[in-house]
């Protein structure tokens, strides 16, 4: 008697079909999960950049004087999806300058008698123009100490010289690599520095070619507390 072993063609076809179906489902779920995970990572990165900027800028602006603040406007055209689309957008990448004290805790940073701050440096926030994201560079420029609250003359007169950090300056710090836009203005009436900033992050694209680029924008309105006279 012939023994009955193995599978019939119909059985093999059904099982192959089931396997293909399961593999397809697993692949789709893996793709969705992977996309979600990468988007989550991008958002975490954007949040970190927002927090880093917020911490530095809030302190610098609060400790400064509104009469020393100055913004140099600049726009640049950036690609929305480099390599995948020719679509571009014009964004602000303004530079900002605020008077500062090198050591706010030192007694020598204040004028004897009046107690007024002896402004001995300026913080410069300079964005670069790379597309789609630039760097946000923060650096200090030292000047002769003075109680006068005034914008940094060189920054006002030669704006182009300050969009890049000077070579050899040890106080250069790159705050963010994913800067999308920075719009700065000085509200003299309310004595506030206004900044609208956006960061962009991207962790590749989906299998279908859709970009996973994300943008996070927010605004800051800070009053420099060492302004005198105050309104």
């Amino acid at each position: 008697m012939k023994s009955k072993r193995g599978f019939s063609v119909a059985e093999l076809m059904v099982s192959t079909f089931c396997l293909a179906l399961i593999s397809g489902a697993v692949f789709v779920i893996f793709e969705v999960c992977s996309t979600n995970f990468r988007v989550g990572l991008t958002r975490q990165g954007l949040q970190s950049q927002l927090m880093i900027f917020s911490a530095r800028f809030s302190t610098d602006a609060r400790q400064s004087s509104i009469y020393s603040a100055w913004a140099n406007p600049r726009t640049c055209t950036v690609e929305l999806e480099p390599g995948r689309s020719a679509e571009t957008i014009t964004v602000h990448r303004d530079a900002l300058c605020l008077a500062a004290l090198r050591d706010p805790n030192a007694i020598g940073s204040y004028q004897a008698g009046t107690g007024l701050p002896l402004w001995d440096s300026y913080w410069v926030y300079a964005p670069t123009t790379e597309s789609p994201t630039g760097r946000l560079v923060r650096y200090r420029v030292n000047v002769t100490p003075d109680v006068a609250q005034r914008p940094y003359a060189s920054f006002v007169n030669t704006p182009a010289a300050f969009f890049t950090a000077p070579a050899g300056n040890p106080n250069v710090q790159v705050l963010a690599h994913g800067l999308f836009k920075l719009e700065a203005s000085i509200d003299q009436a309310n004595q506030q520095v206004l900044v609208r900033i956006a960061f962009r992050g991207e962790q590749g694209h989906t299998q279908g070619g859709r970009s996973l680029a994300e943008v996070a924008e927010t605004l800051f309105r800070i009053k420099p507390e060492n302004s005198w006279p105050r309104m």
Partner: protein, 135 residues
């Protein structure tokens, strides 16, 4: 049995990543809204109580999608009379609620509240210094 187990594991993993996605969305939205609320409170700190109501505004913010903006709405709430009153000035407790996508104080399934709220005690001095002469 094996199929059911596989299906269960896949559903669990997909759910887990979906939660991660929603959590990251909310976290980013909240961070942006908190900065907006803080900036409105900073503005209120240096303004007269009469102008606080006008600070309720809508900001169009690029959030997530680089092509479209999301609207973040601001709602100001403060008492009509000061919380503490003194000859030198008054203290008001001012609250700012920033909401997005929907109505204030509304929640969405698996997302939670779509708003953040910040409060600050603002001191309004009775002594005003005249503005400086123009340069």
């Amino acid at each position: 049995m094996a199929m059911a187990l596989l299906l269960l594991v896949l559903t669990f993993v997909a759910g887990l990543f979906l939660h991660l996605f929603v959590a990251s969305s909310k976290s980013l939205d909240s961070s942006i809204a908190l900065e907006i609320a803080d900036s409105v409170l900073n503005q209120a700190t240096d303004s007269d109580p009469g102008s606080w109501a006008a600070m309720a505004e809508t900001q169009s913010i690029y959030n997530r999608d680089p092509r479209t903006t999301t609207e973040f709405h601001t709602v100001m709430s403060f008492p009509s009379t000061p919380t503490i009153e003194h000859d030198m000035g008054q203290i008001y407790e001012v609250s700012v609620e920033v909401y997005w996508m929907d109505q204030p104080s509304k929640t969405r399934h698996q997302y939670g509240r779509q708003s953040v709220k910040l409060s600050k005690a603002i001191y309004v001095s009775n002594m005003r210094i005249p503005p400086p002469p123009p340069p």
